[in-house]
C-alpha cells in the first residue's frame, strides 16, 4: 500500500518539474520575442523623407536591385535587395555628411542593371548578396561597369551556403578574376580612417539568437575583386551585417562599437572609390 503511494508521489513531482520547466522556457521565449518586437516595431516606422531630398549631390548612395535566387519576401520592397532599405541608407548618409566633405545626396537611389541610369552612379551597395542572381546580359553590364571604374560594396551574407550563391553570381561577372583577402595595409583600410582592428559586426538577429554570427559564418571576411592595377572594384563584406549597423545605430541597445566600425568602413569605401 505504501509503495503505490510513493510511486504516485514521485510521478506527480516529475510532472510538476516538467510543467515548471516548460513555463520557464516559454517565459524566456516570450521575453525574447518582446526584444525582437522592439526592432520589428521600428521597421514599421521607416526613416522619414529628408527635407532636402530633391537636392542633387556629388555622391548618391545607390542600392542595387537584383533578382533573388530564391523566391520569398524579406523586408520591404519584395526582394532580398531591399533589406534595411531605406533607413540604413539614409542614416548612413547622414554620417557621411557629418564626418567628411563628401557632398552626399540625402536620399538613396535604387538602381537596376538594365537601366540607362545605372552608369551614372559609380558607387553601389548590394546587400543579401547570398541570394543574388544575374542574367548573362546583366552580368556583362556589371562587368563593364567595374572595368570602367565603378565600385561595389556587398554586405549581409553569411556562411558557406550563401557564399556559394554569391560566388556563382560573381563568376558570371568575372569568371577569370579571383577573390582575394584584402590585406591590412591596403589603402581601402587607411584612406580616411585607419581600420587596423576590425571585427565581426552583427545584425539584429543577434538579439534573437544570442550570436553575432549567422549560419556558419563565424569569422568576418574582408575580401575583394581587384582590377588589373590592384585596385578594389568589389569590396566583399562576408559574415557581417553593416547595413543593420547603419540602420540601428540610433537604437540604444545596438552596440556602439558595431555601429562605429560600420560607419567607418562605409566611409572609407566611399572615399576609396572616389580616389582610386
Amino acid at each position: 500500500m505504501v509503495e503505490v503511494a510513493r510511486t504516485h508521489r514521485v510521478g506527480s513531482r516529475r510532472v510538476s518539474a516538467l510543467v515548471l520547466l516548460g513555463f520557464c522556457t516559454i517565459s524566456v521565449l516570450l521575453a525574447q520575442r518582446g526584444t525582437v518586437r522592439d526592432f520589428l516595431d521600428e521597421e514599421d516606422n521607416p526613416a522619414p523623407m529628408p527635407a532636402d531630398a530633391q537636392e542633387p549631390g556629388e555622391y548618391t548612395f545607390a542600392r542595387l536591385r537584383y533578382t533573388s535566387k530564391r523566391n520569398g519576401y524579406w523586408g520591404r520592397g519584395g526582394g532580398a535587395w531591399s533589406t534595411d532599405w531605406p533607413k540604413a541608407d539614409r542614416q548612413f548618409v547622414q554620417g557621411v555628411r557629418r564626418l567628411t566633405r563628401v557632398n552626399a545626396r540625402s536620399v538613396e537611389q535604387v538602381v537596376e542593371l538594365d537601366s540607362e541610369e545605372f552608369m551614372q552612379y559609380p558607387w553601389i551597395y548590394a546587400t543579401e548578396v547570398g541570394r543574388w542572381d544575374f542574367t548573362e546580359k546583366q552580368a556583362a553590364r556589371l562587368r563593364e561597369y567595374f572595368l570602367k571604374g565603378g565600385f561595389m560594396m556587398t554586405d549581409d551574407f553569411h556562411g558557406t551556403f550563401e557564399w556559394s550563391v554569391f560566388y556563382e553570381g560573381l563568376q558570371k561577372v568575372f569568371p577569370d578574376r579571383p577573390v582575394v583577402d584584402i590585406e591590412d595595409k591596403d589603402q581601402i583600410f587607411h584612406v580616411l580612417y585607419d581600420l587596423k582592428e576590425r571585427f565581426q559586426v552583427g545584425g539584429i538577429q543577434m538579439f534573437f539568437t544570442g550570436r553575432v554570427s549567422e549560419n556558419d559564418g563565424y569569422d568576418a571576411k574582408w575580401r575583394a575583386v581587384l582590377d588589373d592595377k590592384g585596385r578594389v572594384m568589389i569590396a566583399i563584406c562576408h559574415n557581417m551585417d553593416l547595413g543593420d549597423a547603419w540602420e540601428w545605430a540610433d537604437h540604444p541597445r545596438y552596440p556602439e562599437n558595431f555601429a562605429s566600425l560600420a560607419y567607418r568602413v562605409g566611409v572609407n569605401f566611399i572615399i576609396y572609390s572616389m580616389t582610386h
Partner: protein, 753 residues
C-alpha cells in the same frame, strides 16, 4: 609709241630738267603770253556784236581759250624749250653687269634655262653696245659677287643668293672708280630676305642707278611648293604634335594630294588634302606622335604631282627636341569628387606626366597621392616658392579662395607669371565665382572674367560642342579629321554638371561650349597665355560621364585629359631655356644662340656662368662661353658659325660656382643646296623696288636693246650735261595742229565758217 611722239625715252623726261635755251629773257615770254591772251580777249569782246549769233556767250570763251593756247605754245617754242640731262661720258665710266649664278637660274622654262635667258640677249649685242660706250665689269653673283671674264663661265649651281651682300661688295670694289650704273640680271629669288637699307643708301648716295633685268616666270605654270612648316621646337615623349603646313600650288586646283610626315623612313602621319584656288596660300594641320625622347628631324612632304616644273620644293624638315622625364602636376581638390577619381585614372598611364594630388577629405584632413617623399605636402598646399615651383602645372579643383593664405595666392600668380607654369581651374560648388575667385588677385591670370554672383554652379546635364577656334587645338582633338572631330564632340554623353564661367577675355581661346537645357551656348573650356605661363578654366566637373557612359574601349575621356594635361606642362620652362631663331639653316651657317637662366625662385640669374657645348657632325666638339646680355639680366648670348652641313646638338649648362643651376638642349641642322629650290618665281617686286629706289629701271630681256642708251642717263661717274630740244617733237607739231583744227571744227559746227 612714246618715243615716236616724244623722240626720247621716258627716262630723259623723268631725269631731265626743263630749260629755255632762247637768248631773250624768260620774263619777256611771260609778258608776251599774258599780253597776247589779254589782247585776244579784248579783240573778241570788241567784235562780239559783229560775231555770228551762234558763237556768243560761252562758245566765244572756248574759242578764246583755244586761240590763247595756240599763241602761248608758239611763243614758248620761240624760246627753244629743252631738257637738260646728265649723260655718262663715253669710255670714261664703268658699268657693272651682275648676273645671277644661283641654282634657281638653272630652272628650265619653255625649254630654256633662266641662265640662258639671261645670257643670250647679253651675248647677242647688249654687252657689245655697252662695251662701246663704257668699261664693262662682269660679275657672277650668288651669296657674294665674283668677277668673271665671260658669261660662258656661268654654271647656275651656287647654293644661295644674297643680292644685298653682292651689291655691297661691288660698290666697295668700285669705290674709287667712276661707276656709272649697275645692271643686275637675276630672277630676284633672294634667300637672305631682301636687300638691306644700308646698301641701298650707299648706292643712292653715289647716285648709281641699278637697272634690273628680270629673268624667269613670275609664277610657275605647274608647281606645288611646301613653303613653310610650323612645328614646336620641343615636345614631350609620346605626345601628339600639331604642325601647320603652308603650301601654294599652280595648275592643280581641285586635285588631291597626300600630306605626310616622316621620322627617318617611317611615315608617322599622313592625310589627304584638296588643293584650293591656285596661287592662294593654303594651310593644313597634321597631327603626329613625337615618339621617344631625342633630337628628331621630321620630314614634311606633299606628293609630287604630274608635270611639276620644280620637284625639289615639295618637302622640308623641322627639328623637334623630344624630351623625356615626367612633368609634375599638383592637383588640389577641396572635396572628394568623381572627376578627381577619373582624371587620376585617365592620366595614370601617361609616362610624361605625374599627378600629385592633395584631397581634402574632412574639414582638417588631407589625403595625399602620388607624392615622391612621405613628407611631401605634409603641411598641405605649398607656402614656399621653391616647393610650389618644383611643379610644372597646378590644378585647382573645388577649392574656395579663402583656403589659401594671401601669400599662397600671390605664389599661385607668380607660378604662372614668373615660373611659366600652367594653371587649370575646374568648376565646383566652391570653385570659381562660388569660391570667391571673381574678385581675387588671381582673377587677373584667368582667361575669363568670372561672374560676380552666386548660383553659377548647377548639377544639371549639358551637351557639349566644339568652337571654330578648336580646329587647330591639340587639347580637343579626339579624332584626326577636323570634321569628324566636331561630330565626335557632338555625340559625347552630357556632362554631369556645369558652371557659368563668365566672359572670355580678349585674346583668350574658347575651345568648347556647352548648351544647358537647349538654351544659348556658354563657354566651357577657355585657355590663354599669361606672362610666361598659360591658364585654362573648365566649366564642369562632370566629364567623368564620358568614361562611364561610353563603351569600355572608348578612350575619349583619357585622350582629352591627357592632352589637356600635356598642354599645361609642355611649354613650362626649366631654369635654363635655350633657343635659336631658326633651327634649320638652309644655305647659311651663322646661328644666334641664347639662354635664359633663372634661379630657384625663377628670377633672372645674372651671376652665373653659361657654357654651350656643341656636338656636331663627324665628331665635332666645341665649347663656347656665352656672354651676358647688357640689357636683359639672365640672358646669355653667342653667335656660332656651323662649320659643316649636318645635325648639331648644343647643350647649355649654367653654373654658379660648383653648383649647377640648370641645363637645356637645342638642336640645329645646316643644309646646303636647299634654299634655291624654294620661292623660285621671279621676284619682280624686289627687282622693281631696287631699280626705283636707285633711279634705275626694271627691264625685260626682250627690251634690252635700248639698255645701253638709257644707262647712259646717269648722274653717277663722269658725266656731261646735254640739252635735248623739245620744239621739234612730233607731239608738239601734232598739238599745234590739234589746237587749230579744233577751233576750225568748232566754228564750222557752230555755223561761223
Amino acid at each position: 609709241m612714246f618715243e615716236f611722239l616724244f623722240r626720247y625715252p621716258r627716262s630723259v623726261f623723268t631725269k631731265g630738267d626743263l630749260v629755255l635755251l632762247g637768248s631773250w629773257p624768260v620774263w619777256l615770254l611771260g609778258v608776251l603770253i599774258v599780253a597776247g591772251i589779254v589782247g585776244l580777249g579784248w579783240l573778241m569782246r570788241s567784235r562780239q556784236s559783229e560775231a555770228v549769233g551762234s558763237i556768243k556767250g560761252w562758245r566765244s570763251l572756248v574759242l578764246w581759250a583755244l586761240q590763247s593756247s595756240m599763241l602761248a605754245a608758239v611763243l614758248t617754242l620761240l624760246w627753244q624749250p629743252a631738257l637738260l640731262v646728265s649723260t655718262l661720258k663715253p669710255q670714261q665710266n664703268v658699268v657693272a653687269v651682275l648676273v645671277d649664278d644661283s641654282q634657281s637660274m638653272a630652272l628650265k622654262e619653255g625649254g630654256q634655262a633662266r641662265r640662258d635667258q639671261a645670257r643670250t640677249p647679253l651675248q647677242a649685242g647688249v654687252l657689245d653696245a655697252l662695251s662701246r660706250r663704257f668699261q664693262v665689269r662682269l660679275y657672277r653673283v650668288a651669296d657674294r659677287a665674283e668677277r668673271i671674264k665671260a658669261l660662258d663661265t656661268l654654271t647656275a649651281q651656287a647654293a644661295s643668293t644674297n643680292l644685298g651682300d653682292s651689291l655691297k661688295q661691288v660698290s666697295n670694289e668700285t669705290a674709287g672708280l667712276p661707276l656709272g650704273g649697275v645692271i643686275l640680271v637675276s630672277d630676284g629669288a633672294d634667300n637672305s630676305g631682301g636687300v638691306d637699307l644700308d646698301t641701298i643708301t650707299e648706292l643712292r648716295t653715289r647716285r648709281v642707278p641699278i637697272h634690273t633685268v628680270g629673268v624667269g616666270l613670275e609664277q610657275a605654270v605647274k608647281d606645288v611648293e611646301l613653303s613653310d612648316v610650323q612645328a614646336p621646337a620641343r615636345a614631350l615623349a609620346d605626345s601628339r604634335i600639331a604642325a601647320q603646313l603652308t603650301f601654294e600650288q599652280r595648275g592643280y586646283e581641285g586635285r588631291k594630294a597626300k600630306l605626310a610626315v616622316r621620322d627617318g623612313s617611317k611615315v608617322v602621319a599622313m592625310r589627304e588634302v584638296t588643293f584650293g584656288k591656285e596661287g592662294n596660300w593654303q594651310t593644313e594641320s597634321l597631327l603626329f606622335n613625337a615618339g621617344s625622347a631625342g633630337a628628331r628631324a621630321f620630314k614634311f612632304s606633299l606628293d609630287l604631282q604630274e608635270g611639276e616644273e620644280n620637284q625639289k620644293n615639295n618637302s622640308t624638315e623641322r627639328l623637334v627636341n623630344v624630351q623625356d622625364g615626367r612633368r609634375r602636376i599638383l592637383y588640389i581638390e577641396g572635396e572628394p569628387r568623381w572627376e578627381f577619381k577619373f582624371v587620376r585614372r585617365a592620366i595614370e598611364d601617361d609616362k610624361s606626366v605625374k599627378l600629385v594630388t592633395l584631397l581634402r577629405t574632412t574639414q582638417n584632413k588631407f589625403y595625399r597621392q602620388g607624392v615622391d617623399q612621405p613628407t611631401e605636402l605634409e603641411q598641405g598646399f605649398p607656402a614656399k616658392v621653391e616647393e610650389l615651383f618644383g611643379f610644372h602645372a597646378l590644378i585647382l579643383g573645388n577649392v574656395e579662395l579663402n583656403y589659401f593664405s594671401p601669400t599662397q595666392q600671390e605664389l599661385i600668380k607668380s607660378f604662372v607669371d614668373r615660373r611659366g607654369g600652367g594653371l587649370l581651374m575646374l568648376a565646383g560648388r566652391n570653385a570659381l565665382s562660388e569660391g570667391g575667385w571673381a574678385k581675387s588677385a588671381l582673377a587677373e591670370v584667368l582667361p575669363v572674367i568670372l561672374p560676380e554672383r552666386k548660383g553659377t554652379f548647377l548639377r544639371e546635364p549639358a551637351a557639349v560642342q566644339l568652337t571654330g577656334t578648336a580646329i587647330d587645338s591639340l587639347i580637343t582633338r579626339l579624332v584626326e579629321q577636323p570634321g569628324a572631330n566636331d561630330e565626335r564632340w557632338r555625340k559625347l554623353p552630357q556632362l554631369a554638371d556645369y558652371q557659368d564661367i563668365g566672359t572670355p577675355k580678349l585674346g583668350a581661346a574658347v575651345l568648347a561650349e556647352y548648351t544647358p537645357g537647349g538654351r544659348a551656348r556658354l563657354p566651357l573650356l577657355v585657355t590663354q597665355n599669361y606672362g610666361r605661363g598659360r591658364t585654362a578654366v573648365l566649366g564642369t566637373s562632370g566629364t567623368w560621364r564620358w568614361q562611364m557612359q561610353q563603351p569600355l574601349e572608348d578612350q575619349t575621356h583619357e585622350v582629352f585629359w591627357q592632352q589637356l594635361q600635356r598642354w599645361l606642362v609642355t611649354e613650362t620652362p626649366g631654369p635654363v631655356v635655350a633657343s635659336t631663331p631658326r633651327q634649320m639653316l638652309f644655305d647659311e651657317s651663322r646661328a644666334r644662340l641664347s639662354a635664359d637662366v633663372r634661379d630657384k625662385t625663377f628670377l633672372p640669374a645674372a651671376d652665373v656662368e653659361v657654357e654651350a657645348r656643341v656636338l656636331g657632325p663627324q665628331g665635332l666638339t666645341e665649347r663656347i662661353k656665352m656672354k651676358p646680355d647688357a640689357v636683359t639680366p639672365g640672358l646669355y648670348l653667342t653667335d656660332y658659325a656651323l662649320p659643316k652641313t649636318g645635325s648639331y646638338l648644343v647643350e647649355f649648362t649654367a653654373r654658379r660656382g660648383a653648383e649647377e643651376v640648370g641645363r637645356d638642349v637645342v638642336t640645329l641642322q645646316r643644309q646646303d643646296g636647299v634654299a634655291e629650290n624654294f620661292r623660285t618665281g621671279q621676284n619682280r617686286e624686289l627687282l622693281e623696288k631696287l631699280s626705283q629706289q636707285t633711279g634705275g629701271r626694271y627691264w625685260k630681256p626682250a627690251d634690252l636693246n635700248r639698255l645701253a642708251d638709257e644707262i647712259a642717263l646717269s648722274e653717277a661717274g663722269i658725266t656731261v650735261r646735254e640739252a635735248r630740244d623739245l620744239w621739234d617733237l612730233p607731239a608738239v607739231f601734232m598739238a599745234l595742229i590739234a589746237l587749230r583744227g579744233t577751233e576750225w571744227w568748232l566754228r564750222r559746227k557752230w555755223g561761223a565758217v
